[in-house]
């Protein structure tokens, strides 16, 4: 049971967003810009980074929901998601994405662990300043989202099927609810 009263039936962060809509709004906007809006990094790759960080933080709700969103974006390449979940930076992904996952993994542990060399390697593999910025901020943001969801013990569905539909919705409309 969550540490604060939340609406029954709403899972994970959705229940916390409903408890406090004022903080939900900027958090949704942040996720939308970082994961869904136009970027030279594909939404699939950005969701993989979010999934990887959530998995390292052992946040089941965020890992499962963003893995589902990543699979929905990646379509025939969806197996990348499970490869990264299992093998981390040794997964069969591009060298550029590996270098970004390395940076994200360090940010998950602590910002100060990221080195000049990590960034130089990513740049040598074609990563732009904007892509490095977004990788660091995605990893940092999920260090927040994961702690928010778990720190308040929000409801985490156990059936993987519950996340499929969630992921499809996240991949199709993003994170800002449609205006009613």
């Amino acid at each position: 049971m969550a540490h604060i009263p939340t609406q029954p039936g709403l899972p994970g962060i959705s229940s916390l967003f409903a408890f406090r809509p004022e903080t939900a709004k900027p958090m949704r906007e942040l996720a939308h810009v970082l994961l869904y809006s136009e970027s030279s990094l594909s939404s699939g790759d950005r969701e993989v980074i979010a999934t990887y960080v959530s998995s390292r933080n052992q946040c089941v709700f965020c890992t499962q929901s963003h893995a589902a969103a990543a699979r929905a974006h990646l379509k025939e390449d969806a197996s990348i998601v499970d490869d990264v979940l299992l093998n981390g930076v040794n997964a069969s992904v591009s060298d550029k994405l590996k270098s970004l996952l390395t940076i994200a993994g360090k940010v998950q542990k602590g910002g100060r662990i990221v080195t000049d060399e990590d960034v130089a390697l990513a740049k040598s593999l074609g990563a732009t300043d904007m892509e490095i910025h977004d990788t660091v901020l995605i990893a940092a943001a999920f260090s927040m989202f994961n702690r928010y969801v778990d720190g308040l013990a929000s409801f985490t569905p156990q059936d993987p099927a519950d996340y499929v539909e969630m992921g499809v919705r996240m991949a199709s409309v993003g994170y800002i609810p449609p205006k009613s």
Binding site: H3, P26, M27, S37, D129, A140, V149, D150
Partner: protein
């Protein structure tokens, strides 16, 4: 020098916010809502929770700026703020704040570290649902801000006067106004 090409003369998160205004907007709205309200917890108490987490994460820029803002909210009492963030359980903050700072410390370590007994202890001191929620989210948010500022290798001044200048502006105007020109 930061790892990415941010404009000169803008230390810490300020340079990053100029680099990417789209994410800056959401980040500023989030701190405005978490730190610039006096519902339940006062602005000073909220900034102390933030500064405490920045101290645990050892982020010089965030610790210094939010310490400065907290000081302005607490009538300039630097010792009160520094004692609270360096050793909260032996500081002059209220028993409720001590219980909330204990929760913030668990969140800083790992979300799943928050246990029912931490929540019960805070409720016994009068903490409300909203205060518990905001404490967890402030702690979580600063685990983001600290990683953002440090993970991109931003310039972080050591001169406290710079932070006092920026802190005064944020304490009086909040987080949504254009940054003051540093002198």
């Amino acid at each position: 020098m930061a790892y990415i090409n941010v404009p000169d003369g803008h230390p810490g998160i300020r340079g990053l916010m100029q680099f990417r205004p789209e994410t800056a907007k959401a980040l500023n709205l989030l701190v405005e809502e978490l730190l610039q309200i006096d519902i339940g917890l006062s602005k000073g108490e909220r900034e102390i929770i933030a500064t405490y987490v920045c101290t645990l994460n050892d982020c010089l820029y965030c610790r210094s700026i939010h310490g400065a803002i907290a000081k302005f909210h607490c009538n300039g009492d630097e010792k009160f703020v520094q004692d609270a963030v360096n050793d909260p359980q032996n500081s002059q903050v209220s028993p409720k704040m001590k219980a909330l700072l204990a929760i913030a410390k668990e969140v800083q370590q790992h979300g799943q570290n928050v246990q029912q007994h931490h929540i019960d202890a805070a409720r016994e001191q009068g903490a409300t649902d909203l205060e518990l929620h905001d404490t967890v989210l402030i702690a979580a948010a600063f685990c983001m801000f600290n990683r953002y500022v440090d993970g991109l290798g931003t310039v972080q001044p050591t001169d406290q006067k710079i932070y006092d200048q920026m802190g005064k502006q944020r304490a009086t105007e909040g987080y949504l106004t254009k940054p003051v020109v540093l002198t």
